[in-house]
Symmetry: D3
Subunit: 132 residues, 6 copies
């Protein structure tokens, strides 16, 4: 199984609901350094997993819709706790939609899976893995 990983980041504000979150119930924020990993069993005709330029561009486009925002005000995602692991799924699903729509190139239809990992500090990260 082959894979490639590209990295970008977002800086957002949000708050959490529920005693389990302690002081994180207050409005605060985070930098998420985001790794998107694309997997497939065999390489394409160019001997690659996916065009790394398109993968980087599409990850950037997905992140641009979240970046420099207060997620509490985003109706598409703000009604639930926007935990790191939940955001990993939001980003992974939006990337999967773009793969299926052809935005990462025709050859990218041969991708079999996708993992998104968000590093929120030097001591914590979260991720979501799915098939394509």
């Amino acid at each position: 199984m082959f894979s490639i990983t590209v990295r970008d980041h977002i800086m957002i504000a949000h708050s959490f609901r529920g005693e389990v979150f302690g002081p994180a119930q207050r409005l605060h924020g985070a930098t998420y350094v985001v790794d998107a990993t694309f997997r497939r069993a065999d390489l394409d005709a160019d001997n690659i997993v996916v065009d790394i330029g398109l993968a980087t561009r599409e990850l950037g486009a997905v992140l641009a819709d979240l970046n420099y925002r207060n997620l509490d005000d985003e109706p598409a995602i703000g009604r639930v706790n926007t935990s790191t692991e939940f955001l990993a799924k939001v980003i992974a699903d939006r990337l999967a939609d773009r793969v299926h729509a052809g935005a990462l190139g025709e050859a990218a239809r041969g991708l079999s899976g996708l993992t998104v990992t968000l590093h929120e500090s030097h001591v914590a990260s979260a991720g979501y893995e799915r098939s394509l």
Copy 2:
């Protein structure tokens, strides 16, 4: 599949038995930077994998029993070679016991798996992965 990872560290002394270990047969030591990854298929009612505060506290509690010690003197683990990969299993199994005992919260009973990785230098690490 969702996951979260928390990080802590221990600083221990130990020695190894067997020619394969070369100069590491002498009493020496290591810092292990420890990553514990918790996995589950679906998020809990708070939209998280596990309470990250409890996960951090329980990892710290497991590590406190090993930290600042000469592992050669620890009867529970010192009779075998306390290799990095073996210590990863010791820590993972003790964390699993705490999950099963409810120390990471009731919702943590929905966790499906656990991986512990120990980084022993900038060029070597080891890990152990298990189900819950």
Copy 3:
């Protein structure tokens, strides 16, 4: 010249005023991984720069006053742009006050300088360096 560095982090929300900040004028947030470096010409009677336990505790105490907050609402610092470099100075000056007040131990009065560095993503950081 000797030095030691300890690391911790904060997660805050804030916004900026001024066209130079582009989309960062919106309410957003950041994780700052904070390194505090203490310097002195000679080691103390314990053969150390400063008690690393106290240095870690006092850095944590300084950061606790900023952590999980919207800095726009903090009267002590929120009336100016809370840029990364400005926050580095806020943290360094508060640490210096604690050194001078004896919170890092009597021997810490021999410290000659202090640098605080805030890592805000995998591609950007800022710092402030001062004497003690």
Copy 4:
């Protein structure tokens, strides 16, 4: 499942064929920081996954055949695009051959899998995973 990972690096020149590669069609180069991960279900008689000294030596030997070279001139691999993911497979397969030939010790015959990851910058990496 247990694992250990060892790290080394190579510095190579190469060029790519195909419009998808843009400016990387020109002769350029890369540092690849290479992680080789070895996996097995149970530890060997020494309580380890594999002799880390032999694993490091054999990874170094495989990399020495690629290091400080223009891959376009290497007949064994230069006729295709030597993408990061393709090189991960080349290195993994050569390591697997060495495992099967006994170069990592007799006990290494109990290894069940191998992953090679190449980090090419702070924002991109690629990997190849296989069984043994």
Copy 5:
């Protein structure tokens, strides 16, 4: 003294002349992860060291002239050994020229110094520090 640091990277081919370089006399290559640090004694009217957007853009522009190239063929720099430390100076001097030409904004004329560090692997880096 305040500072900010921005990061980008280049991937180049080159070779060295001189026995001291051993196998690096062959045509090979490197990824350089480049950190540019800007320093000044006081913050500007926006409470920052320099516009981080402009700093990132101008670092990118300087690197674009080197990226995806065989440095042996670049007449402006290829007649000497393009060591990591020498390239750090090339990049720092070109950034300094852009600061002086106003490309980082009028306020950037208040910058007092600049350091460029090139990370060439997980075990080696080089840098050049200058005043402005």
Copy 6:
């Protein structure tokens, strides 16, 4: 001012004397990832700061005398607290002796300074800087 940095590591056991050290008074251990930075104002005839091969070899030789040992048993250094900052000075001074003895090459006599930094975990490091 130019610089190059090379990295290696050691794994040692030791204990501390003094209440300030808390549980670290027990026999324990550490991995120190060691960075040695060499500085000079102008490059040598090969356009480098120092032969990176020799710098790496000599750092390795200095570290070999400490590696895989219980520092409490080393008469040359064990009678004081072998704190991270103290060990940084031990290593820096031994490297300086080797520079002065010509072990890093004749051109290395032009070096003006040296910094040694020891990373002992993901949250702590210490260093020593001196002239040559």
